[in-house]
Amino acid sequence: MSDITSQSLFELTSNIKEKKLSSGEITKAFIDHAEKSKKLNVYVTDNFEKAIDQSKKFDSNPNFDLKLPGIPIAVKDLFCTNGVRTTAGSKILNNFVPTYESTVTQNLWSQGAILLGKLNCDEFAMGSSNETSFFGNVQNPVGENLVPGGSSGGSSAAVAANLTPVTIGTDTGGSIRQPASFTGTVGLKPTYGSCSRYGIVAFASSLDQAGPMTKNVRDCSMLLEVISSFDQKDSTSIDYKRNCYSKELSKDIKGKKIGIPKEYRVDNMPDEIEQLWKNGISYAKDCGAEIIDISLPHTNYALPTYYIVAPAEASSNLARYDGVKYGFRSPGQNLIEMYEKTRSEGFGDEVKRRIMIGTYVLSSGYYDAYYLKAQKVRQLIKKDFDDAFSKVDAILTPSTPSSAFKIGEKTNDPVSMYLNDIFTVPINLAGLPGISIPAGKDKNNYPLGLQVIGKPFDEQNILNISYALEDKINFKNDISDWWLSE
């Protein structure tokens, strides 16, 4: 048996069910590894003591019918967890301990999983490098001083570094898929309405979705099966028949029509990304898929549209952090002064930047020119995909326009940072499911990802295509344990 922490979710659940491993052993292995991996800074808050207790409890009365029997899992610190501090990577929620549980995490615990701790992320999920977190940078295990992507950077690093078997992140414009791509892991953003948003600290409500982040596609299907559910507590949750994704997982994609959008061939795209895409296309062909050139004509407008819609919603969603009811408060002589000091000191620069942008685009006199127009363009982008999906079953693109970059490299250039999301944001705007799988490496040996985009509620199809491609690509993430300490 290989080292416990390097095992996939599938292997761990099999070993538990076959009683080859106990929940206690597994939990302890991940905790021990975490104790030596502090340099990566993936944890904002650990739950190790309670996790040990819970694993013992599981072992004393195990239920092997559950889908995550006694499996320890760390989650992004954007999910509210009952009794465990939830910060959203922000100073303003530094002391916030929820008295309630998000639906998605509750789904994990209901299937036997155990909370290992809360993973670092960009503040309020606003960022593409995990550098906006109040709790500091996360190191990408792929290489020292390399960003793990964002906003689910702590999550992607934790999976890549074997600090959690799987995890869940959230994706508003690429926050699951881009970090997955940067760390050589798998990340899926489900269809909008698939996973409940109840109990997830909101960034942009019409775009936010929780999703699985895993070592491989099979684990991804297993985790999606657990977290996706209809929830009456979220008015945008959709009631539809969800597949048993792991049971129906298949590499047979013969005859599937896969679209290649010409608009994703952006200026200055590195050759290695172009090559990665070509390889992906040829693997798909090898699997018997039919490749079809398609056009998504409004792709160029997706990024500016996203950077109007998301900040607009965020500016309103974050108004509740005012120092009155919970979280950080900086005292003032009067209400206005208390607001100003609390929010000035409590929020970081990137969050403030987006609140400013959002407030601006919603202001009277600018609303029509920005917010309203962006909503119209959003419809056009959606329609691009609807048209494309009348001809194809899925769409294949690169996940990101580059591999992971150095910490600090883009912190002074927000626009260049925003460009990271160029291939992922259109999918959020259209509410579609998208998955990033590791597909190759650049000249520095840094991982690169390919993205498979599906029709609404067609997660099974993109999982199957990814499963087939994964097999052909046979990606190996060679990560040296450079960060380990004793």
């Binding site: 929820p98 109840y198 109990g199 509740r320």
Partner: protein, 488 residues
Amino acid sequence: MSKNSEYLIERENKQYEVIIGLEVHAQVTSESKLFSQSSTKFGAEPNTQVSLVDAAFPGMLPVINEFCVEQAIKTGIGLKAIINKKSVFDRKNYFYADLPQGYQISQYKYPIVGEGKVILDMPNGQKEIGIERLHLEQDAGKSIHDIDPNNTLVDLNRSGVALMEIVSKPDLRSPDEVNVYIKKLRSIMRYLGTCDGNMQEGSLRADVNVSVRLKGETEFGTRCEIKNVNSIKFMQMAIISEANRQIDLLEEGKDIDQETRLFDTKRNETRSMRSKEDAHDYRYFPDPDLLPLEISQELIEKIKSDIPELPDEKKKRFIDKFNLSPYEATILVSDIETSNFFEEVIKNSDVKLATNWITGELFAVLNEKNLEISQSPVSAKNLSKLINLIKDGTISGKIAKTVFEQMIDGDQDPFIIVKEKGLKQESDPKAIEELINKVIENNSDKVAEYKSGKDKLFGFFVGQAMKESKGKGNPQLINKILKEKLNG
């Protein structure tokens, strides 16, 4: 309206007309809040009816309370308004300590109810007031500034309670019309059970828009909005004071600034709250946590079929069926409790007498004791018994008043009072004749005067006879026999 009843404010040979529009905030009668399951009960300990949603905890999401939606539709139907099959909830963004989300969920561009109307019964005829729209929104919490000397305290019990904002067209022209309009609106909602209209508990409040113009002018003047006035009396005072302030400005050749004002009830004047330049930019946008509200024709039909008879229809029925005067009918239908009481009384008794007794004696008692009809000290059942005692001649109207006075004390049965006190009317002609003979005997001088032409003395004899009977003599019989005796 006829010219002579117009409400005009006079200044040196000029007459100004006052234009009024109201935005009424009516609390929806509902067990739970608009987007959460917290209770809406009035008067609970502060912050005991607050859910995580109401306090805007991170990750909490609103879920629409369908009952509140049905209540809004019902009210819309009562206002003869268009029900919009698709409406949208928007966020109205502003910061305040008692607004936990930092925005109020309201409806801006697409309200649930569109144009409708309310008919006012004014002394000189009916007047129609247009309704612009009705929309659903959340109430805010309450900031309390006078408990702690250094801090403002916040009570979130009201946070998230469903309100209907009912916006009138600028069709109102006088404080009297405002009075009748509010009462009518309140009456319609109470008939429907969609708002209890309790102004003391803040269930009904209004923002009052006032402008003035010279009589005959067709353009509207610049308006000012007086925020959050919570009684009809204060609305009327605020309108008069604000209209006069605006007229004073115009008379001095000054402009009126469009602004939001507050009414200071102690000084009886309005003062500026914020000017148009300082107006909030609420940055309305559709709430992404909520889907557009879609209402099916079936639901509208179902609600329509449940609508009770409303004041206008009831009034028409009372006039047609019971032959009441429009004035009497208006009074009796003005409040659902009153009309219910009336209909209960007339189940077993005379309509004309019931009308007179309810609008006369009973209302006088209620007024005097400051009671609602629902708290009436005399039940409908006992009042109808009393009326029957009058109708069948057991007691006279005069005795009935004595009996009624006693009934007030603990809703006593009039049969028992009449029996115990021996108040039954004397209707035996022989007995009456006997006591009249006595009166004539004792007043021979007056009889002589009467016979020599002093007709007015007839009343004196009636009074004496009544006194002789200890008030119990049948008045008709006394009259009849007296006439026979004196004229015969």
